[in-house]
C-alpha cells in the first residue's frame, strides 16, 4: 500500500516538474495565496461570479446542441428544448435565469469595489479588466436574449442595433454590417449566435487576466489599508470554506427562482414568436440594462443619448483618476459614504425609470438621475478627493480600533 502511494506521489512530482499545475493552483487559490483575514461576505461575490460564468458556459453548450439558429426554427427549437429534450426545461431555465443572477452577482461585486475603493492604486488595471468583463457580459447577454427569436428578442435587437446609426457618417454602414442586411433578419440571428458562443470564452480569458492582476497586489479589504503579512491567512482552506458556504446560500436564491419563478425576470412577450409586422406597445430591454436605457432616453438628442449611455460605463475606466482620495474604504470617509448610497439609490431609480414609458415624471426623474450619475463621477468625486477629511485610519488590520488614550 505504502509503496503504491509513494509511486503515485512520484508520478505526481514527475508531472509537477514538467507542468506545475498543482503548484500553480496552490499559488492561485490555495494555501500559498495569502488573503487579508478581515474580508467580509461582500468579498464572496467574486467567486460567485466565476461560478455563474462556468454555469452559463456548461448550460449554454447543452442548449447549443439543441438550438437552431434560423428565423423559421429558432422559436420552436427553444420550445422543443422545453418540452422534448431530457431536462431541457431545467437547462434552459438555469441559463435564462442564470444571466440575471450573473448580473446580480456582478453588480454587487462592482458596488463592493466602489464602496471599498478597490479601484484605487495599485489596483487600477485589475479594475479595468473588471470593466472589460462587464462590457463583454452586456454584449453577450444582449445577443443571447435575441436567440429565442421572440417578440422582445426581435424588437430589442432592432432598437439596440439602431443606436449605432446615430454615429455620424459611418453609422448606417455599421448598422448594415451588424445586421448582415437591411433589417434584423436571419443573418443577424446567425452572427449573434456565433458571437454569443464566442464571447463567453473571451470573458474567460479576461477573467484570467483579472485574477492575475488581483494576485499582484492581493485582495483589498474592508479597512482599505495594506494588509501586513501577519494579517493574512491562506486562501485555502479559509476562504475556500467561506466561499463554499456563500455559494450554498446563493444557490438557494438561484434555485428558488429557477424552480418556482422561472419566468418572473423575463418579458411575457418573448413567448410570442418574433413578428416584424407587429411592434409591441412598449419595448423594454432586460432588467440589467434598464439604468443605461433610462440614460439613453433621458437625452432628447439621439447621438448625445448614445454617447451618454456608453459614456456612463466608459467613465468607470477613469474612475481611479476621478477619485484620487488617498483613503480607499468608505468606512473612513463619512461624506463619500453618504454619496455612495445616494449613487446606488440613483442607479436603482434610473433602472425603474428605464422600465417605464419615456414620458411624464419617469422621464423627468431619469433626466435628474442622469445628471446626478455624471455629477457624482465628474464633480463630486474629484471635489471630495480635495476636501474630505478622513477618519483616523487603523495602524493595521489587527488593531482596527484606535483609542486616543494609547
Amino acid at each position: 500500500m505504502s509503496t503504491e502511494k509513494s509511486r503515485l506521489m512520484k508520478a505526481w512530482e514527475w508531472h509537477e516538474q514538467r507542468l506545475p499545475i498543482g503548484h500553480f493552483l496552490d499559488h492561485s487559490l490555495g494555501s500559498k495565496y495569502p488573503a487579508p483575514k478581515n474580508l467580509n461576505y461582500w468579498w464572496n461575490f467574486g467567486s460567485l461570479a466565476l461560478f455563474m460564468l462556468v454555469t452559463m458556459i456548461i448550460t449554454g453548450v447543452f442548449l447549443a446542441m439543441n438550438y437552431t439558429a434560423h428565423v423559421t426554427l429558432a422559436f420552436s427549437s427553444v420550445e422543443r428544448i422545453m418540452r422534448d429534450v431530457n431536462n431541457g426545461w431545467l437547462i434552459r431555465y438555469m441559463h435564462a435565469n442564470g444571466a440575471s443572477f450573473f448580473f446580480i452577482v456582478v453588480y454587487i461585486h462592482i458596488f463592493r469595489g466602489l464602496y471599498y475603493g478597490s479601484y484605487k492604486p495599485p489596483r487600477e488595471v485589475l479594475w479595468w479588466m473588471g470593466v472589460v468583463i462587464y462590457l463583454l457580459m452586456m454584449a453577450t447577454a444582449f445577443m443571447g436574449y435575441v436567440l429565442p427569436w421572440g417578440q422582445m428578442s426581435f424588437w430589442g435587437a432592432t432598437v439596440i442595433t439602431n443606436l449605432f446609426s446615430a454615429i455620424p457618417a459611418v453609422g448606417d454602414a455599421i448598422v448594415t454590417l451588424l445586421w448582415g442586411g437591411f433589417s434584423v433578419d436571419n443573418p443577424t440571428l446567425n452572427r449573434f449566435f456565433a458571437l454569443h458562443y464566442l464571447l463567453p470564452f473571451v470573458i474567460v480569458g479576461v477573467v484570467f487576466i483579472h485574477i492575475w492582476a488581483l494576485h499582484i497586489p492581493g485582495s483589498n479589504n474592508p479597512l482599505g489599508i495594506d494588509a501586513a503579512p501577519a494579517d493574512k491567512i491562506p486562501f485555502f482552506p479559509y476562504y475556500v470554506a467561506k466561499d463554499v458556504f456563500g455559494l450554498g446560500v446563493f444557490l438557494m436564491a438561484y434555485f428558488a427562482v429557477v424552480f418556482w419563478l422561472p419566468n418572473a425576470m423575463g418579458h411575457p412577450l418573448n413567448y410570442v414568436p418574433a413578428n416584424p409586422m407587429v411592434t409591441p406597445p412598449h419595448i423594454v430591454p432586460e432588467w440589467y440594462y434598464l439604468p443605461f436605457y433610462a440614460i439613453l432616453r433621458a437625452i432628447p438628442d439621439k447621438l448625445l443619448g448614445v454617447v451618454a449611455m456608453f459614456g456612463s460605463i466608459l467613465i468607470l475606466f477613469v474612475l481611479p483618476w476621478l477619485d484620487r482620495h488617498p483613503v480607499r474604504s468608505a468606512t473612513f470617509r463619512p461624506i463619500f459614504k453618504i454619496f455612495f448610497w445616494i449613487f446606488l439609490a440613483n442607479a436603482v431609480l434610473l433602472g425603474y425609470c428605464g422600465s417605464q414609458a419615456a414620458e411624464g415624471w419617469p422621464l423627468i426623474a431619469s433626466r435628474i438621475g442622469t445628471f446626478w450619475y455624471f455629477f457624482h463621477f465628474i464633480v463630486l468625486l474629484p471635489l471630495l478627493s480635495w476636501i474630505e477629511t478622513p477618519k483616523p485610519l487603523p495602524a493595521s488590520i489587527s488593531q482596527p480600533v484606535l483609542s486616543p488614550a494609547e
Binding site: 420550445e79 426545461w89 434598464l290
Partner: protein
C-alpha cells in the same frame, strides 16, 4: 454574521425587486385574481380538470385557435391512456404525403402527430375571422402578464359597451382586453359544453378548466419542476448548513492565535 445576512438579503431581495420592473402597456386593467392549484411550492395540475379543459379547447376554441406545440402523445400526461390517445388522434384527419404517385392524402391522426391547425394559413384564418388572426394558444398563459389570471378574466370579461364607447362593427367589448375592443365574440357561457365527467358547466367552471389546460400546454413540465425543486432545495439547504458549520469550525482555529 450581521454582514453576511446583509449580503444574503441583497442576493435574495434584488431579484424580487427587479422582477416587477419590466412594465407593460399603460391602460390595462388588472385581471381578476384566482388561486390556482398549479401555483405554490408543490403546485400540481388536476388531471380531471385538464381533461375537461381539453374538452373545452376541442369543442370551443379549436375551431379558430391552433395549439401548435402540442402533439396527441402529450395528452398521456393529462391522464389519458395510450389507447385513449390513439382514439382521440384518430378522430382527426391529417394531410400526409406525398405518396408514391406524388399526391398528398388524408389519413387518421396518430399519437405522434401535432394537433392540426384549424386554418391552412394565416391569410385564411384572417379571412374567416373578420380580419383578425386568432393567436396560437400553446404558450398563451406565459405570453401575457399574469397569464392564467388574464386569460381567465378575458373569458369572463365580456360586457355591454358603456355609454359613449365607440365599438367598431364586428367587435366585442371586454373589460380586460387592452383597449377593450376584441375581435373574438364571447365564447364561454353557462352550459356551453356538457362535461363528460358530469361536472356542472358554469361559465366560471369552464373558464377555470380551459385556463388550467392552457397552462399545462404552456408549461407541461411544471409538476416535475416543482418536485425536482423541492429535492434540490433540500440538498442545497443541507449543503449550506454543513458548509456553515465546517467554515465556523475552521475559522475558530484562527481566533485561538
Amino acid at each position: 454574521m450581521r454582514k453576511f445576512l446583509l449580503a444574503a438579503a441583497a442576493a435574495f431581495i434584488l431579484p424580487t425587486l427587479v422582477s416587477g420592473a419590466p412594465a407593460f402597456a399603460a391602460e390595462e386593467v388588472k385581471p381578476m385574481h384566482r388561486e390556482w392549484n398549479f401555483n405554490g411550492l408543490l403546485g400540481k395540475f388536476d388531471k380531471q380538470q385538464l381533461q375537461r379543459g381539453f374538452q373545452v379547447y376541442k369543442e370551443v376554441c379549436a375551431s379558430c385557435h391552433s395549439l401548435n406545440f402540442i402533439s396527441f402523445r402529450n395528452l398521456e400526461s393529462i391522464g389519458y391512456s395510450e389507447d385513449q390517445v390513439k382514439v382521440i388522434a384518430a378522430e382527426y384527419q391529417i394531410t400526409d404525403g406525398p405518396d408514391e404517385n406524388g399526391d398528398m392524402f388524408q389519413r387518421p391522426g396518430r399519437p405522434s402527430d401535432h394537433i392540426p391547425h384549424p386554418f391552412a394559413n394565416d391569410q385564411l384564418a384572417r379571412a374567416s375571422n373578420g380580419g383578425a388572426l386568432p393567436p396560437d394558444l400553446s404558450l398563451m398563459t406565459k405570453a401575457r402578464e399574469d397569464g392564467p389570471n388574464y386569460v381567465y378574466s378575458l373569458m369572463l370579461g365580456y360586457k355591454d359597451a358603456p355609454n359613449g364607447f365607440e365599438l367598431n362593427p364586428g367587435m366585442s367589448y371586454n373589460e380586460f382586453f387592452p383597449g377593450h375592443q376584441i375581435a373574438m365574440p364571447q365564447q364561454i357561457t353557462d352550459d356551453r359544453v356538457t362535461y363528460a365527467d358530469g361536472t356542472k358547466a358554469s361559465a366560471d367552471q369552464i373558464a377555470q378548466d380551459v385556463v388550467a389546460f392552457l397552462h399545462w400546454a404552456a408549461e407541461p413540465k411544471l409538476e416535475v419542476r416543482h418536485a425536482t425543486g423541492i429535492r434540490v432545495m433540500l440538498f442545497a439547504f443541507l449543503f449550506t448548513v454543513l458548509a456553515y458549520f465546517y467554515k465556523r469550525r475552521l475559522w475558530a482555529r484562527l481566533e485561538k492565535h
